[in-house]
Symmetry: C2
Subunit: 338 residues, 2 copies
């Protein structure tokens, strides 16, 4: 692919979902296939059971309170959802209305321990086990949706210290907020603009052959047309759905397989980079008029370059790898998953 990259000229593309411009600048790039992480995340000598880790099987008493475990009522759990011991927001505070730009830090901050075994990472789990982690997210989001005080829930995972993970034991996090973040509203406004112009949902239309990596029965994995980050991947439901937590067991298992495949490909092709993933779902109390253009998806961002002053200042990103090239590199890597 690299001959095309070397002759490409820089382009500025509009990301119609996040409403930002991205500069694709091959002059600042090595070949996409050489764009590997210089800080691989896995320990070279993984310790199967780290004695000081409170997320390990048998160390449950060192953790903040448990919310639920899977399977229920067994010491031999596979997944635990617990409270975060150092929560960003606190469930024990009184929620308040906004006064001079301040509200109390009410909210929920939970942790999903994805495996009892230290040193096992999410894509090391079987397809069905990753599906069960997805179902644990769904179950917890459904519980939070029933709390009338919450407006938005962010499910996310930080993998690797430079992506923000403070624990190496495989886990993800869920934060429930009493407000809709303006960035989330802006995403919906952008999708509304696309819908108003074209009569179509921007995410139903987001895929093309060039940027497709893999597809499953219910999901597509693409490098978005105006990816902000090199090798950024979106996993998008084929069917137009506003809420992540509406997915059923069958779709969760299907999603788990595709997620495992993409994480395995990123790890293999990019030297086990640190990464973040985020589930972009809809705010809980979405007006029905928003349903035609609110489409949930997962964004996966490997941490391969640094966000600097230009990005912070202008909100524009510079991406040295064209999405079509990144998709080709990820499409063609050979992986068998179980």
């Amino acid at each position: 692919m690299t001959s095309s990259a070397s002759t490409r000229q820089p382009e500025i593309r509009k990301d119609a979902v996040f409403n930002r411009f991205v500069i694709f600048s091959p002059a600042r790039s090595r070949r996409p296939s050489d764009f590997k992480s210089h800080s691989p995340t896995k320990s070279p000598n993984p310790n199967p059971k780290h004695l000081s880790c409170p997320f390990c099987l048998g160390r449950e008493h060192d953790c903040a309170p448990e919310i639920f475990r899977i399977p229920r009522d067994t010491d031999d759990w596979k997944i635990r959802v617990i409270e975060n011991l150092y929560p960003a927001v606190r469930r024990d505070l009184e929620p308040s209305s906004c006064c001079e730009g301040v509200v109390t830090g009410f909210g929920f901050h939970d942790v999903v321990i994805e495996t009892p075994v230290h040193g096992i990472h999410l894509p090391d789990l079987s397809q069905a086990e990753v599906g069960e982690v997805v179902l644990a997210y769904k179950e917890r989001v459904c519980q939070l949706a029933k709390n009338g005080l919450l407006e938005y829930v962010q499910v996310f995972k930080n993998y690797g210290a430079s992506a923000g993970a403070s624990m190496t034991h495989s886990h993800s996090q869920i934060i429930g907020l009493p407000l809709v973040p303006p960035t989330v509203s802006a995403r919906l406004d952008s999708l509304k603009e696309v819908f108003d112009k074209s009569g179509k949902c921007g995410l139903c239309e987001a895929s093309s052959e060039d940027i497709l990596i893999n597809e499953s029965n219910y999901f597509l994995a693409i490098v978005p047309f105006a990816a902000s980050f090199p090798f950024e991947v979106w996993i998008v439901p084929r069917e137009h759905t506003s809420y992540f937590h509406d997915l059923n067991e069958q779709k969760a298992m299907d999603f788990g397989g595709l997620l495992k495949l993409i994480l395995t490909k990123l790890s293999k092709q990019l030297n086990d980079p640190p990464y973040n993933f985020m589930i972009h779902s809809s705010p809980f109390h979405l007006p029905p008029s928003h349903l035609p253009f609110a489409h949930w998806f997962m964004q996966i961002v490997p941490q391969l370059n640094v966000v600097g002053g230009f990005e912070i200042g202008s909100g524009c990103y510079i991406n040295p790898v064209f999405p079509e090239d990144a998709a080709k590199v990820l499409r063609e890597v050979h992986c068998t998953i179980n």
Copy 2:
């Protein structure tokens, strides 16, 4: 100050300039005064003249073309403004109008070499010399403003590899874009909302005793009320002005002194952290109706923590240090500057 931090409860504050929520969460914090960088930027054995550095005096032929130097017509320059050898956007491309969300990567990407001497950093320069760097920014932005094809110019500095700097020789960058980034429009929209509600410019009103660090004749240095990042600092003109490049020589010298002071304080108090600074000016072709609420400022962000999946996903930031506490720490550190 730390006793107050330990008893504080988390708060969610609205940043009315960048239109985002910031969660202040002391539970996730050490004491603000302990919040030092673990990756100080300066080499322990600074080399006064690095032989392979093209930004050093005498290596001008290794650089991309020069735009101007200060002083003019001398080999013994103090500041050089040059083209970026690996530009994100290219001045030699034809600008194009937006077609299917894509424009050519036309634009200008320049570098300001702040000193001829390797190993001298911006706050090591005298107050007057920092002022001259500010004047070099101004002069180059004025030149770009005359190019009818540009809409917005971002002046920024990345200090330290983890803040995005690829060269250690002290420099900053200027990118001129043929479009107004949506983030910049959103900032003006937020300030318009403040103005429409209160009849006042949000930045004229941004300061209070609690969050003030230092002031000079023409500028205030504050930790903003809803700082996204620990020890983030804004330098704000006291006088309501929309455009950075309108500042005159006297104000540039005054600004240079305050900038030097703040960078020195951050370095001293936080163990020479990597940082970014960005000048948030107005788009070139601002309608006159925007002038009452468009107020330029500089944002300085020390890189002390990691932006993770929650921030990327929700656009909300988690800041473990309350602005009042950060301002106190920075106000009280003793610095004499020349």
